[in-house]
């Protein structure tokens, strides 16, 4: 089968040479399921650069579709997608629901608050129950690291991780990468500064894996009390001085600071955090003149980011991130269900 080509993005995508090692020359991906041979999307850790780029390339067509007045495809017609959210979420759940519906799937949302989880059912039993309902894909969010992987081992259909504890949030990293790629071109070589509660952030972890895999230089910045151990082993540079971390950055990614960590537990007060780690216009001037500002939302305006920065359409890609989220999730649902849909080259 000839490799799929894509010239529309104008990026240096990966190709596989004779020895099987990736090179940045060309615009090709391995044929069929070799482009993304994984059954689930549990995390970014362990993905090859071309696998990530393949998902980003696949998402481009959905960005285009989503900008049309009729935003519908029949690709997942007849498939059932269950969004099992064991932890509260508004935007991720909505994004997955819209993604599934635009692809033509029957989308069902399960909220933990309404589920038998509250009645003491174990996670495994819930997973087996969902499986028995013959879902074609299950999207899971859970407050405990590793919980999504645990469920994936018990079901027959693809599982998409919509965030597990402080572990991973792979579709967030993919939508962030897509946003950066569309604004900046090749991610390789960019300097990305991630600032905020890195210790508890699944967004930070997935982004660290994704961006370092794609060749970006990643800096993380937080008071040491919010940085996990051994970050140097993850190919990132750790800072506690935000000004230094911003110096010459191409992208500044702010993380949400959870309310419960703001009042004396990890940091003394919100206003002190804003003073030391809030992204203000003056601080942003330390980064490159065209540096992109990102935030996974929901924002604490006036704490980790000031409103004038967040609302600056020239610099802020925050609403674009939300837009890319739907497209990336459509791509993930499409790619992961290709086996069960018997798409040529994927069975």
């Amino acid at each position: 089968m000839p490799p799929q080509s894509d010239g529309s993005i104008g990026l240096a995508l990966m190709t596989i040479d004779q020895t099987g090692s990736p090179s940045t020359a060309g615009h090709q991906f391995p044929a069929g399921s070799d482009a993304f041979p994984h059954r689930h999307l549990l995390g970014i850790a362990g993905l090859q650069p071309w696998e990530i780029l393949f998902l980003l390339k696949e998402a481009e067509q959905w960005v285009d579709l989503n900008r049309q007045s009729s935003k519908h495809t029949n690709r997942l017609d007849g498939l059932t997608v269950i969004n099992a959210f064991f932890e509260n979420s508004t935007r991720t759940l909505l994004s997955f629901e819209i993604a599934g519906k635009r692809m033509g799937a029957d989308v069902v949302n399960m909220h933990a608050a309404q589920s038998s989880v509250k009645k003491g059912e174990t996670l495994i039993d819930t997973a087996v129950t969902l499986n028995a309902m013959r879902a074609d894909a299950i999207v899971i969010r859970h407050s405990s690291s590793g919980a999504v992987q645990l469920i994936a081992g018990k079901v027959d259909c693809p599982v998409l991780n919509a965030g597990d504890g402080s572990h991973e949030h792979p579709t967030q990293a993919l939508l962030d990468a897509l946003t950066i790629q569309r604004r900046k071109g090749d991610i390789s070589g960019l300097t990305v500064t991630i600032c905020g509660d890195v210790m508890h952030s699944r967004v930070a972890r997935s982004n660290i894996y994704c961006l370092t895999t794609l060749g970006a230089k990643v800096r993380v910045c937080a008071p040491t009390s919010l940085l996990p151990a051994a970050l140097d082993r993850m190919n990132v540079e750790a800072f506690s001085d935000f000004d230094k971390a911003l110096d010459g950055a191409d992208v500044v990614m702010m993380l949400r600071l959870q309310n419960e960590r703001m009042n004396g537990d990890f940091i003394p007060s919100p206003r002190e955090f804003h003073h030391l780690y809030g992204l203000t216009r003056a601080r942003l001037a330390l980064a490159k003149p065209d540096a992109l500002v990102m935030h996974p939302g929901p924002m604490n305006r006036g704490i980790e980011i000031s409103s004038d920065v967040a609302d600056d359409l020239e610099r802020s890609a925050i609403t674009e991130q939300v837009e890319m989220g739907v497209a990336v999730r459509m791509a993930c649902l499409d790619v992961l269900t290709r086996r069960s849909r018997n798409v040529e080259g994927w069975s």
Binding site: T122, G146, Q149, E168, P228, M234
Partner: protein
Amino acid sequence: MKQLFTNAQVLIPGAQAPQSVNVATDGDRIAHVSEAAPSKDQQAIDCQGALLAPGIIDLGVFAIDKPAFHYGGITRAALMPDQSPVLDLPAMIKHNASEGKPDLWSHPLAAATKGLNGAELAEIGLMKQAGARAVATGRNWVANSGIMLKLLHYCRSLDMPVIVHSEDSGLTAGAVATAGETATRLGLSSAPASAEALSIARDIALVRESGAHVHFRQVTTANGLDLIRAAKAEGLPVTCGITPAHLFLSDIAISDFRTFAKMSPPLRSEEDRQACLEAIEDGTIDVISSGHDPRGPEDKRLPFAEAESGMAGAETLLALSLNLVRDGLISLSRLFELLSATPAKILGVDAGQIAEGYEADLIVIDQDAPWQVDTRKMAASTGNTPFDKLPAQGRVRAIYKGGKAL
């Protein structure tokens, strides 16, 4: 009944290597160890050249699990007070001391504080009268130093050793792993390994204050072991132990959120693991125990942070510990000091050695017998071992409790 174990390589106190001698028993006691031939009134037991060792005394198990103990050559086990209900009353000690007899002796450890709450002393003196031979703080550290000092003074006056868990709870609250690359990658809440050294440093200071014998049940870090080493050099009455998990696994074993490798204290870095092996070699570590804690799927088939800690360790204790001999770290006789003689001394029981007058708790070991650890085929009540599929060497061929074959 009189018996004579013949044709055996016998581990006897003071000898580095096993000796070709015969062991005579009379009733439940060892009568003598000599080269004497069997007499008419003795029943001869041919050990066929195998190793004859004292039965293992497992210091600090969380369940009495006879099939696993028999498989592993364990003839006595000290039961941790973390039971439901907690072993904090004389009646519970009495009840649990009789559990398992006659073929397995259980030595219930008295809870140091009521309900192991770390706040009020339990009736330790009455529990001693009921048969408790040592006191334990359970899975927890007694965070309040004032309570801990009172406990040590009290136990000193009762001449009872105190078995402690060594993790500063202020640091480990909510943590499920050791801070390091693995925990960071997995997004697991973690505590620095220094939580151990912190708690050991305090308890050593209180030993100096009180003179009580403290046994640190599991010391798993280089800094913690350094503190123990220094305390021993100072002449303080401290001993410490470890389980094979911390000798043969580092925190990489929890990758993929493997709950079977979730331990308390958590698995440490490779550097700390190496330090533990050195401490076995130089004699800083006094006891190897299984930490036997069988846990079913309801406790283990959960997200990592929600799963219970602990492993079913009884049947792998001997085979894994024999690796230390094969790797040249210690001699066979030293190994059985760690597994049998020293735990017996801490509990104050006449067992754990093949010597005249001691309890005839004996195991016949085929040191070379190969087998494979398999979670699905364990003798333990559940097979939660992090050593699944590991090729192992060394099996117990026969086990005698008080001279009686099991």
